[in-house]
Symmetry: C2
Subunit: 342 residues, 2 copies
């Protein structure tokens, strides 16, 4: 072994040098065999391969990449939470594309914490990923400018990246929320509550804007007390619903800003008497099989992920300059809950 004393508990990986020595050939010959290059007699190649198997040699791609100065064939994916069904579907789509390009995927969840996201992003860059697919937090991302300038491809998905103009794939948040709200208005609802995510989150703000716009377009005033923005927390949702559905002038319908909120609301409603109409932004599994099937404005997370990843590889393959901004359409799926009359 190359590293002298081979402590039992501290195994050492054999290197090409070890293989070369054991096979009685030069280093370059081993390299040729490992990489399937021409110029090695079948006899020699066989001997080298035997030693490789016997020693359990596996090429160190880190060293290879260092020498070649080439791309690492790895891509980083940064999102809020892999366990959120929206992101896990997006994630799978990204992974599929990455795999099709023979690359490896590094994944990290920011948990909506920009410091954590930053640490992950820089960690990925220090590992020299070829590119990054990011669902950015709302903090400034200027720190990624040097990376982008150094050739790390950058694509945002689901949200834009504050402080940096890069390729971006977004859902049609505002229009989607407007369509969902308009749908409720069409059923005759006038007092429509809106439960959205924390307002500093781009999608939450956009969707709220869509709600306001639909109300305005229909000429119906919005009572600010109908609006509740915040992380989807069961207890919080309980308080909000008690407020919105109680009192002398309760709302008769609810628009929910994301699938986590919708599910939290459904769970809370199950324990209450009121059955307000409900439209959720973002589809979710079993929405169609609930006691009252849930009307949603569906996104297409797989399409968003695929689009973002393909954009990334197009950049890596040298597609030229201006940052693209792609909007992915949403669509209303009426299932029942959104058609409940006031």
């Amino acid at each position: 072994m190359s590293a002298g004393t081979d402590h039992p508990g501290v195994p050492i990986r054999p290197t090409m040098k070890d293989v070369a020595a054991a096979a009685g050939v030069g280093l370059k010959t081993v390299s040729r065999v490992v990489n399937g290059e021409a110029g090695v007699s079948e006899e020699t190649a066989r001997r080298v391969r035997a030693v490789i198997d016997q020693l359990g040699f596996r090429r160190n791609d880190g060293a290879r990449l260092l020498r070649q100065g080439a791309r690492t064939g790895s891509v980083g994916l940064l999102l809020e939470d892999v366990a959120d069904p929206f992101y896990s579907q997006l994630s799978r789509a990204v992974e599929e594309v990455v795999r099709a390009h023979g690359a490896l995927l590094l994944t990290g969840s920011s948990a909506e914490d920009s410091e954590r996201e930053r640490a992950l992003a820089l960690g990925f860059c220090a590992r020299r990923v070829d590119g990054l697919v990011v669902v950015p937090t709302s903090a400034d991302h200027g720190y990624l400018a040097p990376e982008a300038a150094a050739g790390t491809a950058l694509v945002c998905v689901d949200r834009p990246m504050p402080g940096l103009d890069v390729d971006t794939v977004l859902a049609d948040n505002r229009a989607g929320a407007a369509i969902g709200t308009a749908h409720l208005l069409r059923q005759g609802h006038r007092r429509i509550g809106y439960l959205g995510d924390a307002p500093d989150i781009f999608t939450a703000a956009e969707r709220l804007a869509g709600y306001r716009q639909a109300m305005a377009d229909a000429g119906h005033p919005v009572d600010e007390s109908w609006i509740a923005m915040g992380r989807p927390d069961p207890l919080e949702v309980r308080f909000v619903l008690a407020r919105l559905l109680g009192g002398p002038e309760p709302v008769t319908a609810l628009m929910c800003g994301n699938n986590r909120t919708t599910v939290a609301v459904l769970r809370e409603l199950a324990g209450r008497q009121e059955r307000p109409a409900l439209v959720g932004f973002d589809d979710f599994e079993l929405a169609d099989l609930l006691a009252v099937p849930v009307t949603v404005v569906a996104q297409d997370p797989a399409l968003m992920g695929r689009t973002a990843a393909e954009l990334l590889f197009r950049r890596l393959h040298g597609e030229p300059a201006p940052a693209q901004h792609i909007l992915v359409r949403t669509r209303l799926i009426p299932r029942g809950s959104g058609e409940i009359p006031p």
Copy 2:
């Protein structure tokens, strides 16, 4: 720049050498500043830092690791499909532990294809991950033996690894399925159908064995026609249910082997008249809010993921030899569907 001609479309990353030259200091001084080592005057350090920011220098961890011969601080996670809620929860738990240890996570989905899993695993190993958390396919994994011998920590989760005895975290599959089946028997059911995943999948086989055992323990014979094993495919489920629920002696209850199958069955049942009792293996979101809430044998994917990842790091921190086999308990959650009488 170190690489001479700086083509516009081909950006080159500055290296420590570049920083050193631009700052008019030696290479090692830059290294000291970058790594926060002592022995640099504040004056010099400031100048170096200024150049670093200006050039957008970022240390190449690949080179660093190569030189140090140290661990890479990265871990690979291989599972069947990140978009399956069971695995996405497991995945998040693994990621959490990995992050707590300051490491990075590479993720790959095998899609139940052992060739693909092998390619991913070896790719990870070529990148010199410190360890691998794997949900193994049913193929032989002897090819990982050299990696394990070379010091790559290996932990299996959800399924054991054929051909290699390593640390393993499993759910209590057999007992869980037996408890679910016994629950149905207790309600008076005798003709109980079993819909499981492909029989070469460890968990599918174990759970089926649990079903058989419960039936045998109760002294009730199993008609082989009640058993249907295969990938959860909507069309397939449709045929199976038509067969099980039609005919002169239909089953009165169903035991489902995993959450994908359960959901597929629920979807199909929604379009049919019959309302057989139903127990699903593995819990899923909204199971409690369906028209008939679904009784399940719940696993704890987060606990399984956390346990596996912690085991991995304990190995990396030098915990000694024998492979551990940890069983994570399942528990029956009665919600309604499993309490429907025959």
